[in-house]
């Protein structure tokens, strides 16, 4: 059986530096899959290759068996893989609602001619409903008219996910979604992700917050210095000698 998303021998070289070296793992449909590793392990680079931000030096990214490596980011997105970014990457000058509306670009593709004549009224209504639904899901609907740049950090992170969610993705790639969140916000965000999973969405997640990772993931891939290190469920990873060594014993006390 083919997995929803499979990474095969993925390699990325920046000049002489091998950032990711022959990495391979599979993400099964409807799971939350974590990608962990010490700083500089190549997690974000892997993300950038899967989402089409980088073209891999060699290797493949297979989505439902189709090779999507080397496609542009919007082409990967149109096949159902949508990503968020580290930090709060948003349309800071636009309102919260407009941010979510940009997220509906794929299901409700705008058309200039229809827009001029006014034949896209139903699409606009549909896009707005979808955007509102997405904002409600992340508890942002009461902030719809605020400027995105004025939101608090936690709300900005949630909005980043709402933009991705608005586009009805099959796989959502989250790049460090818990960074800079307090324990209460982290807990709420974990709940939201479980609800996304219950909706049938597949989540691939890069994160340093071990508590969140261990509490959330069905499967975890650990990498170190660009190489595959270990894979398994949270209990297996927690006790894996190679993982503990990679984190210099740090895994024991954060777990």
């Amino acid at each position: 059986m083919t997995s929803l998303l499979e990474v095969r021998d993925l390699t990325m070289r920046f000049g002489g530096l091998v950032a990711v070296d022959a990495l391979g793992f599979r993400v099964e449909h409807g799971t939350i899959h974590g990608l962990i590793g010490p700083n500089g392990a190549g997690k974000t680079t892997t993300f950038n290759m899967i989402s089409g931000f980088y073209t891999p030096t060699s290797g493949q990214v297979l989505l439902r068996g189709e090779d999507v490596s080397g496609l542009k980011m919007h082409e990967v997105a149109r096949r159902g893989v949508v990503r968020t970014f580290q930090h709060s990457t948003l349309f800071a000058e636009l309102t919260v609602m407009e941010n979510a509306l940009v997220g509906t670009h794929m299901p409700f593709r705008p058309n200039v001619f229809a827009a001029i004549i006014g034949w896209d009224r139903e699409d606009r209504r549909g896009a707005e409903a979808r955007a509102r639904e997405s904002l409600e899901f992340f508890g942002l609907d009461h902030l719809a008219t605020e400027r995105a740049g004025d939101l608090s950090h936690g709300h900005q992170r949630a909005l980043g996910m709402a933009v991705a969610y608005a586009s009805h993705p099959d796989v959502i790639l989250l790049d460090e979604p818990f960074t800079g969140m307090n324990p209460e916000e982290t807990r709420q965000m974990m709940d939201l992700m479980r609800r996304l999973k219950a909706d049938g969405m597949t989540i691939l997640l890069v994160e340093h917050d071990m508590q969140a990772i261990m509490g959330l993931c069905d499967a975890i891939t650990c990498m170190s210095f660009g190489k595959f290190l270990a894979e398994g469920n949270p209990a297996e990873i927690r006790n894996h000698p190679a993982v503990i060594e990679a984190y210099l014993g740090g895994a024991r006390h954060v777990a």
């Binding site: 989402s51 931000f53 542009k72 980011m73 919007h74 997105a77 149109r78 949508v82 990503r83 968020t84 970014f85 990457t89 948003l90 349309f91 800071a92 000058e93 636009l94 407009e98 509306l101 940009v102 997220g103 670009h105 794929m106 409700f108 705008p110 058309n111 200039v112 827009a115 001029i116 006014g118 896209d120 699409d123 606009r124 896009a127 933009v163 991705a164 586009s167």
Partner: protein
């Protein structure tokens, strides 16, 4: 309610306007009307965050194309004007292949270079572009009558009405585009192109779309100009005019739809009425430069920010009146 009343009053004022002006001022009014379209189309391009220095040359492409279509192929003038705009848009699509490999400052320089190449081609090829002397004796808009008014296109007033209707229609389309999901996508491409791309936006396609639409309407503006003055040459679309367009856009502000129009109208009035009356004609570039620098220093958001402030003050006043009956 009174907002709906404002538009007919505004329209009536625009219709009555030329009758209070001298002949030369009426001519200026025609140019102003065309320039409003050019600067508004320029704003559509700036929505995606790209600033071009070739916009005026693209406007010239529309003028040349429309003039040649009527001269060589005998196409009816109104149709050839539209065809001129379409030609300019198609050329923009072609130019987008080399130009949109660049962004920001590099695009600015690249667009200037592309514009100069087009201008040199006009100068170099006497057939069909007429070389440095350009094209003369362009067919004027044929006269016609709509019953209540006879259009005589040797009269600037008639041409002003005609251009006014065309420009108003073009502005309406530009406005519809800006307020649509397409316009929102242009903003998205401007503010965070990576996030837009991750949401499935084809950046190249949207940049090209904005460039083509802006160029198309600039081309229509150029065609309006060509069939009015009757003669065009490569120097009618040189960098001097481009600097004026830039100045109108920057002084007016590009944050709102009306900002560049405001800049264009205010600076034209300043230029033509105040400076010419006072005999400062020779110092025009100097004063334009000073206005540009002063507005960047003291009005970084353009004249539109003054309007917004004024509106807010008015609204605040009416609200406090309602509060104290």
């Amino acid at each position: 309610m009174h907002k709906l009343l404002l538009w007919p009053i505004f329209g009536a004022a625009l219709i009555a306007l030329p009758h209070g002006l001298s002949f030369s001022q009426q001519e200026i009014l025609v140019f102003l009307t065309i320039n409003v379209l050019v600067v508004s189309s320029y704003r559509l391009l700036t929505l995606t965050g790209e600033w071009s220095l070739g916009h005026v040359v693209i406007m010239g492409v529309g003028a040349y194309a429309s003039a040649l279509y009527t001269k060589e192929l005998g196409i009816w003038v109104p149709v050839s004007m539209i065809l001129g705009g379409i030609t300019a848009a198609l050329l923009a699509v072609l130019l987008s292949f080399p130009l949109f490999r660049m962004k920001g400052f590099y695009f600015l320089i690249g667009s200037f270079a592309a514009g100069e190449i087009i201008r040199l081609l006009w100068k170099r090829f006497r057939d069909p572009f007429g070389g440095p002397k350009g094209i003369k004796g362009i067919d004027p808009m044929p006269d016609f009558s709509i019953g209540i008014y006879d259009f005589d296109f040797f009269e600037p007033v008639s041409y002003y009405y005609f251009a006014g209707v065309v420009v108003a229609a073009c502005l309406w389309i530009l406005w519809r585009i800006e307020r649509s999901p397409v316009g929102l996508t242009f903003h998205a491409v401007h503010w965070q192109d990576k996030l837009a791309e991750a949401s499935g936006v084809n950046l190249r396609a949207y940049r090209t779309l904005a460039f083509a639409i802006a160029s198309g309407f600039a081309g229509i503006g150029g065609a309006l100009l060509g069939h009015y003055v009757g003669t065009i040459n490569p120097n009618s679309f040189d960098i001097d005019l481009m600097v004026f367009v830039l100045t109108w856009a920057i002084v007016g502000g590009t944050g709102t739809f009306y900002g560049p129009i405001l800049g264009c109208v205010v600076l034209t009035i300043l230029n033509e009425i105040v400076l010419r009356e006072m005999g400062f004609e020779q110092m025009r570039p100097l004063i334009y430069g000073a206005v540009l620098i002063l507005s960047i220093l003291f009005l970084p958001n353009g004249l539109e920010s003054l309007v917004q402030k004024g509106m807010r003050a008015l609204r605040g006043k009416s609200r406090s009146k309602e509060a104290t009956p």
